[in-house]
Amino acid sequence: MTRAPAAMSEFVFATAQYGSGDWDSAPLLPANIIDSVARYTSIAVAPTGATAPLATPLALHFPLLYLTGHLPVRFSDNERRNLSEFLRRGGLLFVDDHNHDVDGVFHKSATEELTRVAGPLHDLPNDHPLYRCFFKFDGPPTTSQELNGWGDNLVHKHLQAVMAGDRISVLYSSKDYSSEWDYHPESKRFQSVDNTRFGVNIVVYALTA
C-alpha cells in the first residue's frame, strides 16, 4: 500500500511509478538498499520502501526517487509536471537502465524524457563527491551484468547526471544496478563484499548534498 510518510523523521526509500513500462521490475532492490543503509549508517530509515506514483504529488514527499524498467518510458503530462516540481524542490532522481543497453528503448526513451524535464545528461566525473560521501569509490562500481557481456556488452566508465548548480539533480546509470542489487537482503551473507554499498552513497548524497 502506498502511503505518504506522516513526517520525514526517517528516510523512506521510494520507487517511482510511471504509467508506461515495468516500473516495478526490481522489487527487492528497495529492501536491499534499506538494509545497507541500516547496516552501515545511523540514518533513521523506514523498514520498508514506498511506491511514489509520479502522476500524483505524493512523489514530492521523498528526497530520493528510484526509477527503473525495461520498457519505454513515456511520462504523462502529470508525471512530467510532478517530476519537474520534485527536481525543482531539490529532490534527487536515480534512474537505472534495467536493460543495461544504451541502444535499448529504456535508455533512449528515458534520456529523451529526462532531457525534456530536467535538461541534457552529462558524464559525471569519477571524482565527484558522490563517490566519496560515505564509501570511497574510484568511480561507479561495475556490475556483473557489465562484466558478463549482458545488454550492450559495455563497461560504462561513468554515470551520467543533470546538475542543478553543483548538486546532482538526476543521476542516470546504464550499469544495471537494478539487476545487481535485486536480491533478498538475507542473501548478503553469501557475498564477500557487499555490492550495494554504492547505493548507500546515493542515499547519503541525496540526504546531505
Partner: protein, 695 residues
C-alpha cells in the same frame, strides 16, 4: 437623306457640352491633385522643423486625401450644369449676344421653327473648346507650383509625408538641427527580417529600446551619416563581440543575427551611446495529440489493422510528422525491441492531421508483444531547433495464451452460493409450513420435525463454512462434523478469521474483521454472517422455537443473497513485501540510532537578491549620471528576462519612459519593478503579544 439645320445645331450644342464637361472634370482633377500635393508639401515642410510621429503623419495623409476628394467633389457639384444642354445653350448665348437666345428657343421649340440660320452659328461652335482649355490653365499652374515645392523639399521629408512607414526616421532631414547635433545614433531605425522558415514579412521599428525577434532573424540597425566610428557591442550571456557599421548610401548599417538568448546591443558613436535589447521570441515546439487509438488496450490476437490518427499544431509551421511504434517482445530480463515509422509526411502548415494504418499482420507480432504508439512532429526551426513535439503514448499488448479468463461453455451445476440460497429458502418454507401446522401437532411431533429442519440447517451451515474454507484454500475439515460440539463454533470462526488473515498475507497484525479491511474478508463477510445466523437458527430449531428461528434463517438468506450479488475481487500476485529488520541489521537489538544532523540548504533564490542589489546600485548611480539610467536599466533587463519576466517588463517600461522624458511613468514602473522582485506582501504583527509586564 440629308441632315437638317436643327440636327446640325443640336449636334454642335452637344459637342460644346462635351468640351465644357471635359473642362470641368479636368479642372476638378487638377485642383484636387494640386491641393493634395500642396498639403503634402506643407506636412513635409513642418516635418523639417518638428518631427511628426508616424501616427500623426498617417492621419494627415488621410486628411489630405479627404481634402483632395472634397475639392474634386465641390468643383464637380458646382459646375454640374455643364452636363445639361439648355445650360450649355445659355452659356453660349451669354457669350454671343448676337444669337438673341436663338439656341435656347431652338431647343425649347423642339425644332418646330427654324430660328437659327446655319450661317449664324458660325462664331460659337469653337467657343466651348476654348473655354474648356482656358479653365484648366490656372489649376495646372497651381499643380506645377506644388510639384516644384515638393521637388525643392528634401526627398526624405517628402517621402515621410507622402508614404509614412515604420523605420523612416532615418530618412528625415532635420533643418533645425543641421550643424547642431552630430549624434549619428539619433534617429535610429531597426529592420527585422525573420528567418525564412517563419515566412513572415520584414518589419521596421523607429527609435527602438527593446524588440522581440525569432532566433535567427536578421537584425539591421540603420542610422544617418558616415559609418566610420559607429560600432555596436553585442553582449549575450558571457559572450561579447564588437561589430563595426558599414556604409550604405548616406546611411550606416549594422547587421546582426538574433540569438536564442537575451542580447544587449550597445551602440556607440564617439561620446554618444544607446542600448537596445533584443529579446528572443520563443519558437514553441509542436503540440501533438494522439486521437486514435483512444486508450491503452489488450488485443486477443495480433491480426487486423489499427487506425492511427493524430493532430499536430505549431505556433509557426510544422515541417514533418509521423507515428513511431516501438514493438517490445520478451519478458523477465530478456527483451528485444524494434521501431516502426508510419504515416510520415512533410507538412508546410501550422497544423495538420496525420493518419496511418497499423497492420498487425505485417508487423509480425507474437503473443506477449507490446506496442508503444505515439505521434511525433517537428517544426521548421533550422536555427535553434528543430522543435520536436510528441503525443502521449498508447500501449497495446497482445495477450498471451491462457492469461485471459476462461469461459465455461459446458453447462454446469449452480454454484455453491446459489445452491445454498435455494436450500436456505427451502428450509424457511419448511419452517413456515411447520409453524402453520403447529396447532394440530403434539409437542413430540413438533420437536421431531423441527429437529429434522435443524439437521438440514446444520448441513447447510457446514456447506457455507466449507465454501469459505475452499476460497481460502483450506481443507473443509475445519468445520465441525457433529452437531453436539456446541463450543466448536467459536474456535471455527477464529480459525476462519485466521485463515482469511493468512490468505491476504498483508499484515502481521490482528485482523479487524468488523472493519473488513482486507479483500478476502470483505468478500467472505456475508457468508460468515450467514454462517452465524444459521447457527442461531439451528439452535432455535433444536428447541422447537420456530418464531425464534425464522428471523435468523431470513437473515442468513439475505446474507447469502448479498454474497451472490457482491463484486468479485480477483487478487493479483505481487512481489513479497520485504520488511527489513533495521535493528537487526545494525546489530543493535532494540536500540534505535539517531539520525545524522542535516545541514539546511541555502535559500534557493539568491538571484533575486542580486537583481535587487543591482537595481539599487543603478538607481544610486542615476543621481550622478542620469543620462545613463535608461541604458543601465535595459542592460539589467536583459539579465532578468529569463528568470524574472515581470521585473524585466517593468524595467523596459521605465527605460522607455525615461527616454521619452516621462518621469512620473518611469517612477511608477520602477516601483512596479521593486514590487516584482519583493514578491507578495507578507503581513506580520508589528507588536509582540502582551507578556504580562507590569503585574
Amino acid at each position: 437623306m440629308s441632315r437638317g439645320p436643327r440636327t446640325e445645331i443640336t449636334t454642335a450644342l452637344q459637342r460644346s457640352r462635351g468640351w465644357l464637361a471635359f473642362g470641368v472634370v479636368v479642372r476638378a482633377v487638377i485642383w484636387a491633385a494640386a491641393t493634395g500635393a500642396l498639403f503634402v508639401a506643407l506636412v513635409a515642410l513642418t516635418d523639417l522643423f518638428i518631427p511628426i510621429p508616424i501616427g500623426a503623419r498617417r492621419a494627415l495623409l488621410a486628411v489630405d486625401a479627404f481634402i483632395a476628394a472634397g475639392v474634386f467633389g465641390f468643383l464637380m457639384w458646382r459646375d454640374r450644369g455643364a452636363a445639361e444642354l439648355p445650360r450649355v445653350a445659355l452659356w453660349i448665348e451669354e457669350r454671343v449676344p448676337a444669337l438673341r437666345f436663338a439656341l435656347v428657343t431652338e431647343l425649347e421649340s423642339g425644332g418646330a421653327a427654324r430660328f437659327v440660320a446655319p450661317g449664324a452659328a458660325q462664331p460659337w461652335p469653337g467657343m466651348a473648346r476654348r473655354g474648356a482649355l482656358r479653365v484648366v490653365a490656372f489649376p495646372v499652374a497651381a499643380l506645377i507650383a506644388a510639384a516644384v515645392g515638393l521637388m525643392v523639399l528634401p526627398a526624405g521629408s517628402v517621402a515621410r509625408a507622402a508614404s509614412p512607414r515604420s523605420g523612416d526616421s532615418v530618412i528625415r532631414t532635420a533643418l533645425a538641427r543641421v550643424g547642431v547635433s552630430v549624434n549619428r545614433l539619433d534617429p535610429l531605425a531597426l529592420e527585422i527580417t525573420p528567418p525564412a522558415y517563419a515566412r513572415r514579412e520584414s518589419s521596421r521599428v523607429d527609435d527602438p529600446a527593446a524588440v522581440r525577434a525569432l532566433p535567427g532573424s536578421r537584425i539591421t540597425f540603420v542610422g544617418r551619416g558616415a559609418a566610420s566610428g559607429v560600432r555596436a557591442r553585442v553582449t549575450a550571456g558571457d559572450r561579447s563581440t564588437l561589430v563595426q557599421a558599414r556604409q550604405a548610401g548616406d546611411q550606416w548599417r549594422i547587421e546582426l543575427t538574433a540569438s536564442a538568448t537575451p542580447t544587449a546591443v550597445a551602440l556607440s558613436d564617439g561620446l554618444h551611446a544607446r542600448v537596445v535589447d533584443l529579446e528572443p521570441e520563443r519558437d514553441a515546439p509542436p503540440a501533438v495529440s494522439l486521437r486514435a487509438p483512444v486508450r491503452d488496450s489488450v488485443l486477443a490476437l495480433p491480426r487486423g489493422t489499427i487506425a492511427l490518427s493524430a493532430q499536430a499544431t505549431d505556433d509557426i509551421a510544422l515541417a514533418e510528422a509521423h507515428f513511431e511504434v516501438i514493438v517490445s517482445a520478451g519478458e523477465g530480463e530478456t527483451f528485444t525491441f524494434r521501431t516502426l515509422t508510419l504515416g510520415a509526411r512533410t507538412i508546410n502548415a501550422p497544423s495538420a492531421t496525420i493518419v496511418a494504418a497499423l497492420s498487425l499482420d505485417a508487423a509480425k507480432l507474437h503473443p506477449g508483444d507490446v506496442l508503444h504508439i505515439r505521434a511525433i512532429a517537428t517544426d521548421g526551426n533550422v536555427f535553434s531547433g528543430p522543435g520536436v513535439g510528441t503525443s502521449d503514448t498508447r500501449v497495446l499488448r497482445i495477450a498471451r495464451p491462457g492469461e485471459a479468463d476462461s469461459v465455461a461453455i459446458t453447462p454446469a451445476a449452480p454454484p455453491d452460493t446459489n445452491q445454498s440460497a435455494l436450500s436456505e429458502r427451502m428450509l424457511i418454507q419448511l419452517t413456515v409450513a411447520l409453524k402453520a401446522r403447529r396447532a394440530g401437532l403434539d409437542r413430540r411431533t413438533l420437536l421431531t420435525e423441527s429437529h429434522s429442519v435443524a439437521t438440514d440447517q446444520a448441513r447447510l451451515r457446514r456447506t457455507v463454512g466449507d465454501l469459505v474454507f475452499a476460497r481460502l484454500g483450506g481443507e473443509p475439515s475445519g468445520e465441525e462434523r457433529t452437531p453436539d460440539q456446541t463450543d466448536a463454533r467459536g474456535d471455527t470462526l477464529r480459525d476462519l478469521l485466521a485463515r482469511a488473515d493468512r490468505a491476504t498475507n498483508q499484515s502481521i497484525q490482528t485482523l479487524d474483521f468488523d472493519g473488513g479491511e482486507t479483500p478476502v474478508v470483505a468478500v467472505n463477510a456475508p457468508l460468515l454472517e450467514a454462517y452465524n445466523a444459521m447457527w442461531d437458527a439451528g439452535g432455535a430449531l433444536e428447541q422447537g422455537d420456530l418464531e425464534g428461528a425464522l428471523p435468523h434463517m431470513r437473515a442468513a438468506l439475505a446474507a447469502i443473497e448479498r454474497s451472490r450479488a457482491a463484486e468479485r475481487v480477483y487478487l493479483r500476485g505481487r512481489a513479497p513485501d520485504v520488511v527489513v529488520d533495521v535493528a537487526r541489521a545494525r546489530l543493535a537489538g532494540t536500540e534505535h540510532g539517531s539520525s545524522s544532523v542535516r545541514t539546511p540548504r541555502l535559500p534557493v533564490d539568491s538571484a533575486r537578491d542580486a537583481l535587487a542589489s543591482r537595481l539599487s546600485s543603478i538607481l544610486a548611480r542615476a543621481v550622478v549620471s542620469p543620462a545613463t539610467l535608461a541604458d543601465s536599466l535595459l542592460l539589467l533587463r536583459v539579465e532578468a528576462l529569463s528568470d524574472q519576466p515581470e521585473f524585466a517588463s517593468a524595467l523596459g517600461d521605465a527605460a522607455d519612459a525615461l527616454r521619452k522624458g516621462q518621469g512620473e511613468r518611469a517612477t511608477t514602473a520602477l516601483v512596479r519593478a521593486r514590487r516584482a522582485l519583493a514578491g507578495p506582501i507578507i503581513v506580520r504583527r508589528s507588536i509582540a503579544g502582551w507578556s504580562g509586564a507590569g503585574q
